[in-house]
């Protein structure tokens, strides 16, 4: 499929000179990207790179041919004003085009729903007009940005007929911190810390993607020991979050046994991460070029014991959840996203796998330690809350097996040099399968090797529209369990 593409091919964690990226006039570039997507590629990232001269913006597309285990990249010639919209042909570009319009004032002609993504207007995000449904029985429910629980801020606008949701529109941006702006010109002294805070619950995945991009820009690779450690940290992060969310999902159905047990067990997995690097969320675990924290055999043995205990307990707690008929009644046939919809809007991660799509970066685009060791991809058909919960419980088992296998075989420690300089005028891409799905980092350096553009795409960016679709035709009272089954990041989206 990817054989006859005119885009430049590159592997995950690969780089190529910026000048070697094929370029076309903007309108043709949009058409060519649409053609790539037509033949089965998936849009990983789509962004603008302002020209140094200040004259126009180049569009860049990173697409993935999952079946061929390869990525492809293309770009447009500098353009300003407007380009034809890609969204009309491929809805997965919808948010990306809005983002480009917001960041570079480049209007996608014909875009069906052009409004800001996260830019602020005064004190709050510029939400613009919401979609409205008219009718005597129709009423509008606005939830957030301030919620009753301790969760992140986001605004949800429901159009309902009685209890049934006809349409849901989600407006985010309340956590916009200007991460991408801060990263440009880098790497700075703070960059590693800033990357770790893109989404605090996905620290290891984002930090790994950043380190991989940097190493790729320096034409190098991390020591094997560091790659091993990153893979361990990544799976621990997955375990902690999947466990916590399954507990929260049970909590939203008012099913206390699993909710109480998983709340505690999430802490056990976080403590395992803390045993590795001193921080429960994995901060400091991943550093570019560095070998990472010291892990001796005694620690590995202790971790293995704690891990096995926690995994046994999680299995029990989740078994209670599947055994409760009332809970299954709440989860089955609720919040369904059909496979075709998931494909059309480019969903990733467990939410996509719960629609029967085999999409897993660890398997499709292995890099780092995943070139040597892999966990089977967990897929479940159905696309409902039950399927999403099921995929996550399967991933708990498989991540557990992976960890038990890999913890026992640490590679030798090897001497590492310092950080080599980054190549100038180069583009590097790194995909990492975080617990929510594909984390995509793209860096383009200038002549002196500093970041000219650093683009971060959190999996939530792909999946929020999925939640909106999942709610259609469902009861508004089921929104919390739908929301929790996706468990998307606000700050990862808002950047």
């Amino acid at each position: 499929m990817s054989g006859d593409t005119l885009f430049a091919l590159l592997p995950n964690a690969g780089s190529l000179p910026w000048g070697d990226v094929p370029e076309w006039p903007a309108a043709e570039f949009v058409r060519r990207t649409a053609a790539e997507l037509d033949r089965g590629a998936r849009l990983c990232s789509w962004f603008g790179v302002p020209e140094d001269s200040g004259l126009g913006v180049r569009l860049v597309a990173i697409v993935a041919f999952d079946a061929d285990n390869t990525l492809a990249v293309g770009r447009s010639l500098p353009v300003s004003g407007s380009v034809p919209s890609l969204t009309v042909l491929h809805p997965q570009a919808h948010l990306f085009e809005r983002e480009v319009w917001e960041q570079h004032q480049l209007t996608p002609e014909g875009h069906p729903w052009l409004k800001p993504v996260r830019a602020s207007a005064g004190e709050a995000p510029a939400n613009g007009e919401f979609f409205r449904v008219d009718g005597g029985e129709v009423h509008e429910v606005a939830v957030g940005p301030v919620h009753a629980g301790i969760i992140e801020p986001g605004h949800f606008r429901f159009q309902c007929a009685g209890e049934e949701v006809i349409h849901l529109e989600i407006a985010l941006g309340y956590q916009h911190r200007g991460i991408e702006r801060a990263l440009a010109g880098g790497p700075h002294r703070l960059t590693e810390r800033q990357i770790e805070t893109i989404a605090g619950d996905t620290t290891v995945a984002h930090a790994t993607a950043y380190a991989t991009v940097l190493e790729s820009l320096a034409q190098g690779e991390a020591p094997l020991r560091a790659q091993w450690l990153r893979a361990i940290g990544l799976e621990l992060e997955r375990l902690a979050n999947h466990t916590g969310d399954l507990g929260a999902l049970a909590g939203d159905a008012a099913f206390l046994p699993t909710s109480a047990a998983c709340g505690k067990l999430r802490g056990d997995f976080l403590n395992l991460t803390a045993a590795l690097c001193g921080n429960r969320f994995g901060r400091g675990l991943v550093r570019p070029f560095a070998i990472g924290p010291d892990v001796d055999d005694a620690l590995v043995a202790r971790m293995m014991g704690n891990l096995t205990r926690a995994l046994d307990d999680v299995e029990q707690a989740i078994a209670w959840l599947w055994d409760a008929a009332l809970v299954r009644g709440r989860f089955e046939n609720v919040g369904t996203v059909h496979r075709a919809q998931a494909e059309e809007i480019g969903m990733v991660g467990p939410a996509a796998r719960a629609c029967g799509l085999v999409r897993d970066v660890r398997y499709d685009h292995p890099a780092g330690w995943h070139r040597f060791a892999q966990a089977p991809v967990a897929v479940w058909p159905g696309g409902d809350v039950f399927a999403r919960a099921r995929v996550r419980s399967l991933e708990i088992q498989r991540s557990g097996d992976f960890l038990r296998e890999q913890l026992g075989v640490p590679p030798e420690r090897e001497a590492t040099g310092g950080a080599p300089p980054l190549e100038g005028d180069t583009l590097a891409v790194a995909l990492v399968e975080g617990w929510r799905g594909e984390v995509c980092h793209v860096a383009i350096t200038n002549a002196s090797g500093a970041f000219r553009r650093y683009k971060v795409t959190d999996p939530s960016f792909h999946n929020w529209p999925g939640l909106a679709l999942a709610l259609r035709g469902n009861a508004i009272s089921d929104f919390p369990i739908c929301n929790k089954s996706f468990s998307l990041s606000y700050c990862g989206f808002d950047l």
Binding site: H147, A250, A253, K264, P480
Partner: protein, 302 residues
Amino acid sequence: MMIVLSFVARLAWWLLLAPLLPGIINKVKAWVAGRRGPPVLQLYYDLARLWRKQVVMSTLASPAFIVGPAVAWAAVLGATLLVPLGPAAGATLSFRGDVVLMLYLLALARFATTWAAMETGSAFEGMGAAREVTYAVLAEAAMIAAMLTLAVQTGSVSLATMLAPSVGTSAVLLAAGLFTVLLVENCRVPFDDPATHLELTMIHEVMVLDHSGPPFAAILHGASMKLLLFAVLVTQSVLPMGTYSRTMASIVLLVGVLIVTVGVGIVESFMARFAFRRVPLLLTTSVLLCVFALLVAWQGAA
């Protein structure tokens, strides 16, 4: 003098004992989950805190926003005064047909809360009010069938006489039916989740989201009195209270209320919530249970 003393003692039972029940339920839930949980007296602390707080009012709301909780609280208190505390102690106020007044006072309380909720003009409150009223239609049917059972059994329409003997064979049916009504009337799992913070899934809680300060304290206190009222009703409907001595009856009543309360806690610990569309199914079941109890009582009487 004795009359005054007994009146004060009754008021104390209803007003002071009631906030203990939610505390016990929460303690049971915490205990089952292996947590320490909030103190048993937490609701008392909450009420004291709320009482000292200011009232925040929406600019849209009319005074009904404040009047609603007050009327609801007074109506529930009025209903409690009609409920006997054991056959010997009797009720504060007892007359032929007081059971009908009790039912209507509870309905008035619901109307007042719903009215105050609609005053805010918020989509949340409107949604909650719609749900509350929808489920009340079925819950009230079950409640009326249960009271009819007692009336047929005893040939009386005064609570003091109705609640004295056991209903005999239909006691099990009635206990199940009334316990379900207790759960739905007091917004407990599996109908509602008092512990949730998710506005979109709430029934009762979402109606009172905008209330604050003393009116909110009145709502919480009224809710706990209603729970106590139902616990007392369930206990007395199924146990032969008339056959016990005065002290024994008081002890049985206390233990019965405690068992019902712990029962609510245990149900909440092990049951998940129903989806909204399934709630009417369970409620219809409780109506049927009470109707069957009525049939059994009727056949027994004939």
